[in-house]
């Protein structure tokens, strides 16, 4: 279990060689070395004006976009700048790099090692070339295998592989091949995501026009269930709805999110959180660079969370974890017990066999894990059994300000 004072840093690298059909993240294509350098400087500039949270840094995460597209020297600059402002942590933080197999060389891998990157998250997505092509991935299956081999050779001992199920036209057999193909590469961690067709993506348009047909939801459910059984048998334990890890290899970074730990955000469109407030930067890469260079906060919007809202998030996010919500920690954070505030809805969910309370933990049942949204929706707006006074001063006024973020 993570100590409460742990916090993390998210660094967004928006550059991509090509845009995947399903992707709705903040990414840009067509920018070259000069922009990469300028952007990296902006990241450093933003970091200099950040307030460093108290406690110890548990994780740094380079996400994207495609962080692996950058010259590793730039990653080195960022990490150096981070360490400069921080006192020596007790344990070395997890430093994760998102990697696209189409952008990797042995040299890059060696450099990342040298600069202190200790975890790779490799976007494999599928183990059939026709699916990779359909998703507009810039790599093929052989490059996935090669990347993992090279990473091991370079000394990486903590490797995650991402894959997506429920792809247009995907059969159960193909999914099984993907999962087995990934297992064959001996990952320490797997993230298996059901495809989400996000508005505004090329995939969304294709589905709307009938050019791509999504599999039946029952088949998608079967894919998820099959993978869980398979991975569990292979000693990869599901520790979150979509995440599996060998013992001791659960992602520290993602757990910060699900436990409402503070995180610093650097980069265009990146989201930051401190108790009571979440905020995010402007999405436009050039705009972000212009603002930082002009010495202006690149803030785009924010939302203030009341204690009530934060308690709800604590519950529905925490329930994504297999170990569930630690009710003692809930009490430590909010000075009131979850059952005092939400007893009514919690009991209702228990009666529907979606939730169970087990000692000090509140967990989803297996059925509750399938229907986590049913639970989350109930928690997002359940009437509280009692109203909780907000002890943070000035919160009411802040709430009234509009926050016009594009998110």
């Amino acid at each position: 279990m993570l100590p409460t004072e742990d916090w993390g840093i998210y660094v967004h690298i928006p550059f991509c060689e090509a845009r995947c059909t399903y992707c709705d993240f903040n990414t840009v294509t067509g920018m070259g070395q000069a922009e990469h350098l300028r952007y990296t400087k902006a990241l450093l500039g933003e970091w200099q004006s950040e307030t460093v949270p108290e406690g110890s840094l548990a994780s740094v995460y380079f996400g994207g976009g495609t962080p692996s597209i950058l010259d590793p020297v730039l990653i080195g600059h960022v990490l150096e700048a981070l360490w400069e402002r921080l006192s020596e942590p007790v344990t070395a933080p997890e430093v994760t790099m998102e990697v696209n197999p189409g952008t990797v060389t042995a040299q890059k891998l060696a450099s990342w090692q040298d600069f202190g990157v200790n975890r790779l998250s490799i976007g494999a997505q599928a183990m059939q070339n026709h699916h990779l092509r359909a998703l507009n991935r810039i790599h093929d299956v052989s490059m996935i295998r090669q990347t993992v081999c090279m990473a091991r050779e370079a000394g990486f001992t903590n490797i995650n592989l991402d894959a997506i199920y429920g792809l247009p036209g995907q059969t159960l057999q193909e999914w099984q091949e993907t999962v087995d193909g990934l297992l064959h590469l001996g990952p320490d961690h797997l993230s298996l995501y059901a495809l989400i067709v996000e508005a505004g993506t090329p995939l969304h348009r294709a589905v709307e026009r009938g050019q791509a047909e999504l599999p039946d939801p029952d088949l998608v459910a079967e894919m998820a269930d099959w993978a869980e059984t398979r991975l569990t048998a292979m000693e990869l334990q599901p520790y979150e709805i979509s995440n599996y890890a060998r013992a001791g290899y659960a992602s520290r970074h993602n757990q910060l999110y699900w436990r409402l730990a503070p995180y610093v955000a650097l980069g265009a469109g990146a989201h930051a959180y401190r108790p009571g407030r979440r905020w995010w930067n402007v999405r436009g890469v050039r705009r972000y660079m212009d603002l930082v260079e002009a010495g202006v906060d690149p803030l785009d919007g924010y939302e203030d969370l009341t204690v009530d809202e934060e308690m709800r998030e604590w519950l529905w996010l925490g329930l994504r974890l297999r170990e569930g919500v630690d009710l003692r920690r809930f009490f430590q954070r909010f000075r009131i017990s979850a059952s005092q505030v939400f007893g009514g809805v919690l009991q209702e969910l228990e009666a529907k066999h979606l939730l169970c309370e087990d000692g000090h933990a509140l967990r989803l049942t297996p059925r509750g894990r399938d229907l986590a949204n049913v639970v989350a929706r109930a928690l997002v707006d359940a009437p509280p059994d009692m109203l909780v006074q907000d002890s943070r001063a000035g919160d009411v006024e802040l709430k009234d300000q509009s926050c016009t973020g594009t998110d």
Binding site: I241, H271, Y273, R278, W280, E313, A372, N373, R377, V380
Partner: protein, 598 residues
């Protein structure tokens, strides 16, 4: 003004032939409003009307017009443009001596042109034919003149106009003075004034729109409404110019409105006669009949705590809508609500929309149905306005359903398609004649229940938009009807019951069960859907249980967005009604209407 200088007239037209634009132009030309003050289509004063492009409430405008050195008072009485409001149209026409019959120069005579013309002729109105939209490239005024001749109007007399461009408007005004006869009332007789409309004003109470036929109405008069037998003291009299202007009196032949601290339009029935309390007229003006709802539907709040707010909203709407009826009703499935009666489907939709929009209510509306006249084997008689209350087949000696006589005008090549549609809707063929070499008029008797929903849409789509329709109620006729129930999870959901023809019950049951399967979202458990007649199940479908409902990804940058997504989904669920443990969306209750012809 003396009667010789008054002209009262309406504009009648098929929908979209340019009635409202012509009215705007007349108002503008006579200087009642400057063009700067003109909002397009000033006579349609409710937002909803303007949005839907239809006129629901009639209004009257007084125009002053100089003609050959003399000043005339022209009262333009607007009429509703939808078949739901046929009775209101007939009373508005009764308040006139003349009518402008507007025909689109490109479209020609349509079904509503004819229906309105016949209604005007029944009221002995002078007809001024107007061929409008002559600016259109496809305009063919000569052909329209010939069509007019075929329906007994001298087309060569027609005024050619482009209301959009303002062409021909002076000629229209001159024709109104020359061809519309002045009122012929008895200026010295006892007061008789025809109520042709009314509306509720929150400051003045009900404004009663009248045409003074005999006598004179003054501020301070004690008046009696002859049908409702209510007494009031006239506190204010006014005319619309088109903005309201107070006047001291309305003389014989004049048109205007009065206020008299009247609390509800229920007291001011369209077609009723206003007379003096002290010196009453002996007989009222002819033609009054109480508003009779033709279509009924259940209105239920999604949140049962909104029941009282719904009642208050309906009461408020009723203040301004004498045709709206409602009474409390309890549904086993939907809880407490109201059975509301409407003139027709448009009227129903307008009311529902106003309840949701102006009163912020979230409602479940059951599929509309007509009223069935049921004779019981025991000899009793029932008026069934809710399919769920239809007695068991064994108790019924005879069911009668309301029917309409419909006229459909279409190019002759579509006669076959129209006949096919009419027969699918259980129509009885009455007549076929030709308006000219290209266009035919088909007459059918059709059950109202078969045409109230999508008949017109179907007619349009099967005739590539060329057919026009008008219909009038023509009583009831016996039919072999049965009640079809829908069971969810083995329980009858009364709000989903419908009355169907026995020969089509099987097909309808299958189609409805299938449609419900598509519309009812997956629940936490499997939901069997059955259609049944009595105890006999005629169709069965199953909504499979929800297997997964989970957000695959939720990381730092997603949390706000994902929470909003969850909240939005929750909002969607709030619009559903929980029946037992099953959540049913509004569309499912309307599915009854939409099954058979898709």
């Amino acid at each position: 003004m003396d009667q010789a200088h008054i002209r009262n007239f309406s504009i009648i037209a098929h929908i979209d032939h340019g009635k409202s634009t012509l009215a705007d132009r007349l108002i503008e030309t006579t200087g009642a409003l400057t063009s700067r003050e003109m909002a397009p289509q000033v006579l349609d004063s409710m937002d909803l009307e303007r949005e839907r492009g239809i006129t629901i409430k009639a209004q009257a405008v007084r125009l002053f017009y100089q003609y050959q050195g003399e000043q005339y008072e022209l009262n333009l009485i607007d009429t509703p443009g939808h078949v739901d409001f046929t009775y209101e149209v007939s009373r508005a026409l009764q308040a006139c001596e003349g009518a402008l019959l507007v025909v689109d120069a490109a479209q020609g005579v349509e079904a509503q042109t004819l229906a309105n013309l016949y209604m005007a002729l029944e009221n002995d109105l002078a007809i001024i034919p107007i061929i409008n939209k002559i600016d259109l490239p496809s305009a063919n005024p000569e052909a329209v003149m010939e069509q007019l001749l075929d329906i007994g109007i001298d087309g060569t007399e027609a005024v050619l106009t482009s209301a959009k461009q303002g062409a021909g408007i002076d000629r229209v005004l001159a024709d109104v003075v020359e061809k519309v006869p002045p009122p012929q009332g008895d200026a010295h007789g006892p007061l008789r004034a025809l109520i042709f409309d009314s509306r509720f004003d929150s400051y003045k109470g009900v404004l009663v729109y009248i045409r003074v036929v005999d006598g004179c109405l003054k501020v301070g008069d004690q008046v009696r409404f002859m049908a409702t037998n209510k007494l009031f003291e006239v506190s204010e009299i006014g005319i619309f110019g088109p903005n309201p202007v107070p006047v001291q009196e309305l003389a014989t032949g004049e048109v205007g409105f009065f206020a008299a601290q009247i609390k509800t339009v229920q007291d001011t029935r369209v077609g009723d006669t206003v007379t003096h309390a002290q010196h009453p007229a002996d007989v009222p003006l002819p033609g009054y009949r109480p508003a009779q709802p033709m279509v009924y539907s259940g209105l239920y709040p999604v949140d049962s705590e909104d029941y009282h707010r719904l009642r208050e909203a309906l009461e408020k709407l009723q203040l301004n809508d004498a045709a709206l009826t409602f009474e409390p009703e309890t549904s086993a499935a939907l809880g407490f609500g109201f059975r509301a009666g409407f003139l027709g489907l448009l009227h129903m939709e307008v009311i529902q929309e106003r309840l949701e929009r102006e009163y912020d209510l979230t409602l479940i509306t059951t599929a509309p149905n007509v009223v069935y006249e049921v004779t019981l084997t025991g000899g009793g008689h029932l008026r069934v306005d809710n399919p769920a209350r239809m007695p068991p087949a064994g108790d019924i000696a005879l069911i009668e359903e309301p029917v309409v006589d419909a006229d459909i005008i279409c190019p002759s090549e579509y006669i076959g398609a129209v006949m096919e549609l009419a027969s699918e809707r259980r129509g009885t063929y009455l007549n076929l004649d030709y308006l000219d070499t290209l266009r035919a008029r088909l007459s059918y008797r059709l059950p109202l229940g078969e045409i109230m929903y999508d008949f017109f849409d179907q007619l349009k789509s099967r005739t590539r938009g060329y057919a026009s329709l008008d219909y009038r109620l023509s009583g009831v006729q016996p039919a072999d009807l049965v009640r079809m129930d829908i069971l969810l999870n083995g329980e009858v959901v009364d709000a989903l019951s419908s009355v169907v023809h026995r020969d089509r019950a099987y097909d309808k049951g299958r189609a409805l069960a299938e449609r419900l399967r598509q519309l009812i979202p997956r629940q936490l458990f499997e939901v069997p859907i059955q259609a049944a007649i009595g105890s006999r199940v005629i169709a069965r479908e199953t909504v499979k249980a929800l297997r997964k409902d989970v957000l695959a990804k939720c990381y730092g940058g997603d949390i706000t967005r994902k929470r909003k997504l969850l909240e939005k989904q929750k909002e969607g669920k709030r619009r559903m009604k929980s029946v037992g443990t099953i959540e049913i969306p509004q569309e499912a209750f309307m599915a009854i209407l939409r099954t058979e012809h898709e």
